[in-house]
């Protein structure tokens, strides 16, 4: 890893003034604090400087400066990430992309849109709407989160069950690599020869380069949408309904679940009257008659699996209210406790009841409350661990529970993260899911993109400094493993 000091960061900042103009370089202590964390607020580091470029070329010029001075850098969009992916390093540079927020071109005939990374997710669908098109990935934070961040995290959202993730909807990206070179990855036409580098960049959490432009695929808006909320006496029975829906051969656009605590939180923000242990939101979309036929089947399944009440959205406003309740749940939990942690584990859908029981046991053991709001269709859990940061030791307790929850997910054959990313938060949980050799292979690919180690260091892959010695994870150079050279 590169060695940097504050002087180097300030040297980069000083030279950057000539590139972006003095107004777009931040070195003042108070202003720098704005950038000390992202959505994961329990990790904070004030960066050496913040630079706000206005073009791809300026981003490249700044990265070249960082490369020259061996100063680490991290790209930042809206800073809404939940795993600390945009957490700065103390002597590093934050490259803020908030000025790159233009929708550059809508190509209706080919159903695609070219945007800069600072454009918010929701705006893409807004600009596409007049043409009957929309952008499918819809993370809950879509009003604020940006496309650059979506690419970095390979964001999903409620509807990725049917429509896939960001990686399934990006055609090309302009990427500034760690040495400041600019490359175009992907292709406007299908079947580009060569390696799928775009597929590696998407979801790489800012560790292999900075995306400065992207060409996104748009979809025609579905002809018909039906949404219901089914009230179940328990999360187990709601989970049974999810399995039954899937077994029926229906692929809903979204299947979301909220437990009582999450519902109580949502009630503080939205006019819902749900009074139940588990609310299951199911949305179907597509050709009208297909949707109607499948919706009848889904409604019957919910009732058969024990739903006391099934409420169907009668119009777009009612649908919006349901989704507001769901999407506001994270923030609304803040009304129930002074602080909370959001988790993001994934499990095989069929293990839902066991894992929810496991989470309950962990919460009881720690004496903390855990609200569950999650993408039930694809087994992506978002337990929210509530705590009081004024009580000494409670944050540490909450963090420990949050980690044990994701590790429980791995024990059940799942993943430590479904959409929030590893970032800084889960970097030390990576060895729970991957062997030393798995991590070595990841590290080699990272090195191919960023041999000096300047691009968002300390994220995604564990290091001895952050996590202690990780058994089996060593950094042998390929030349060494090839028997062509030895370590001194």
């Amino acid at each position: 890893m590169a060695v940097a000091d504050t002087t180097s960061a300030l040297a980069v900042a000083a030279q950057a003034r000539d590139i972006v103009g003095p107004d777009w370089v931040v070195t003042d202590g108070a202003q720098l604090r704005v950038y000390e964390c992202d959505g994961l607020t329990n990790h904070r580091t004030v960066p050496g400087a913040v630079i706000l470029p206005g073009t791809t070329e300026q981003v490249a010029a700044i990265v070249r400066l960082c490369h020259e001075h061996r100063v680490p850098f991290v790209a930042r969009g809206a800073g809404s990430g939940l795993s600390g992916g945009a957490l700065p390093t103390e002597d590093g540079i934050v490259i803020g992309l908030s000025r790159l927020r233009e929708v550059l071109d809508i190509d209706v005939a080919n159903q695609r849109v070219r945007v800069q990374p600072g454009v918010t997710n929701l705006r893409v669908s807004e600009v596409a709407a007049p043409f009957g098109l929309y952008y499918a990935p819809d993370p809950s934070s879509q009003q604020v989160c940006t496309i650059g961040g979506n690419l970095a995290e390979n964001s999903g959202g409620a509807h990725c069950l049917k429509y896939g993730f960001t990686v399934n909807h990006v055609l090309t990206a302009t990427v500034v690599l760690s040495d400041g070179s600019i490359v175009e990855l992907g292709s406007e036409a299908p079947d580009a020869p060569g390696l799928d580098l775009l597929g590696v960049v998407i979801g790489s959490e800012g560790t292999v380069g900075i995306v400065t432009e992207a060409l996104l695929n748009l979809l025609p808006k579905p002809e018909h949408v039906e949404t219901l909320v089914a009230m179940f006496p328990s999360t187990e029975t709601a989970g049974d309904a999810v399995s039954a829906i899937i077994a029926e051969g229906v692929v809903p656009a979204a299947v979301e679940m909220m437990d009582r605590l999450a519902i109580d939180a949502a009630k503080t923000q939205t006019p819902i009257t749900w009074d139940t242990e588990a609310a299951l939101i199911v949305e179907l979309d597509g050709p009208a008659r297909e949707v109607r036929q499948q919706f009848e089947a889904v409604t019957a399944i919910c009732k058969r699996c024990g739903a006391d009440d099934v409420q169907v959205a009668a119009n777009p406003d009612e649908r919006l209210t349901i989704w507001r309740a769901r999407k506001s749940a994270f923030a609304a939990v803040g009304q129930l406790a002074p602080a909370y942690l959001v988790q993001d584990g994934v499990i095989p859908r069929t293990r839902l009841p066991e894992v929810l029981n496991g989470i309950r046991a962990l919460a009881d053991e720690a004496g903390l409350r855990v609200a569950n709001v999650f993408h039930a269709g694809d087994g992506n859990l978002h337990p929210l661990v509530l705590y009081d940061n004024a009580v000494e030791g409670e944050q540490a307790k909450a963090e420990a529970i949050a980690m044990r929850i994701v590790e429980l997910c791995v024990d059940f054959g799942g993943s430590i993260t479904g959409e929030h990313g590893v970032g800084i938060e889960k970097v030390c949980s990576m060895p729970k899911m991957f062997t030393g050799d798995d991590l070595t292979a990841f590290d080699r690919v990272r090195s191919a993109f960023d041999p000096v180690g300047l691009c968002n260091p300390g994220k995604l892959l564990p290091t001895p400094r952050l996590c202690g010695e990780v058994p089996g994870f060593y950094h042998a150079h390929p030349v060494e493993t090839a028997g062509l050279g030895e370590r001194m």
Partner: protein, 386 residues
Amino acid sequence: MADLAGILGADRLTDEHGTPVLTPRDAAEVSTLLEAATKTGLALVVRGGGTKTSWRPPPVRCDAILSTAALAGIVDRQAGDMTLVAQAGTPLAALQADVTGDATHRQRLMLDGVGGDAATLGGILATRAAGPRRHRYGTPRDIVIGARYVTGDGLVAKTGGTVVKNVAGYDLAKLLIGSQGSLAVITEVSLKLHPVPDVARTVVLQTTDANAVAAFVAAVRTAPITATVFDVRWPEGIVAIRIESTPDGAAAQIDLLHDLAALEELAPEAGDALLEEHLGFPFNGSGAVLGVGVRPEHLATLLTVVAATGGQFVGRATLVAGDIVLPDLDPERIARVVEAVRDLGGNVQARRGDEAHLLAAPTPAPGVATVEAAIKLQLDPAGVLV
């Protein structure tokens, strides 16, 4: 030359027309072989069913073939989670038969078996092969959720997992898919499954007017129709659409299609047969074969190019991606297609014919070539996998 028989034992070594073939039985043996090859400087070509070996340029050197034939079998299938894990050397057809054979769960594996019954899962991934169902279900990149692999120097590793949603670590499956076995040997793959629909119906439009085809395709593209297959066949002038849905859903969509153009509905068996025919199309004849892709707006132009060069095209109508089969190996003819597609900003990859490989050889941009070379050096430092 290394003692090939000594690496995995004489029983793993066979001879095929003078070329040694090594057949490791598991990932550990693949690792042993690649470690030895790295130390001794062997050049190995990875082979699954060997159905698409012409999809890559002939290797400049090949000391032995690494066959994945013994890496076969289903590791795990979770019907409730709609996931499947299988060894890379398993023939895709066998996997599909296993999944669809389970009548209780009515599921299917939506990779297209490009290359016929011998085509293996690993081979489909390595060549990024996709056929007609790609219209709805995408390519291997959209269906694979994880993989185990052995790097060129013998590191046994995994990427992704067995759950359908997962962003932990880099998605190196994306990197391995389409890498033609040049970075690592894929040993095991995790896949998503999809439900079997209630009904499947196929309608066909016949017209030899390329502009009429393009207009019809554009109209369907914006209509409330979710086809599984949407193929064009040229110069025969056939546009085929397969609708898979609920009975009502299919009926409504077929009605709507009839409103857009004068179509003929095929009997179910004829619809299935058409699908198979399109799947096998890149293997027709003996002339050069080019895989092509252009932007949707260029469909009519591409069809005109196909007709003008004496070729035949079968591909996906809206993407636009498919294969052009030429009547011979005439370099001039190949060059005309390559040039025309590139003029449209499209992509060409040779599927058959040395001359086609020569003429369609890509020239990656300098920055991209640098990263590709760095990745190759990191994953296969001695250049074992050729």
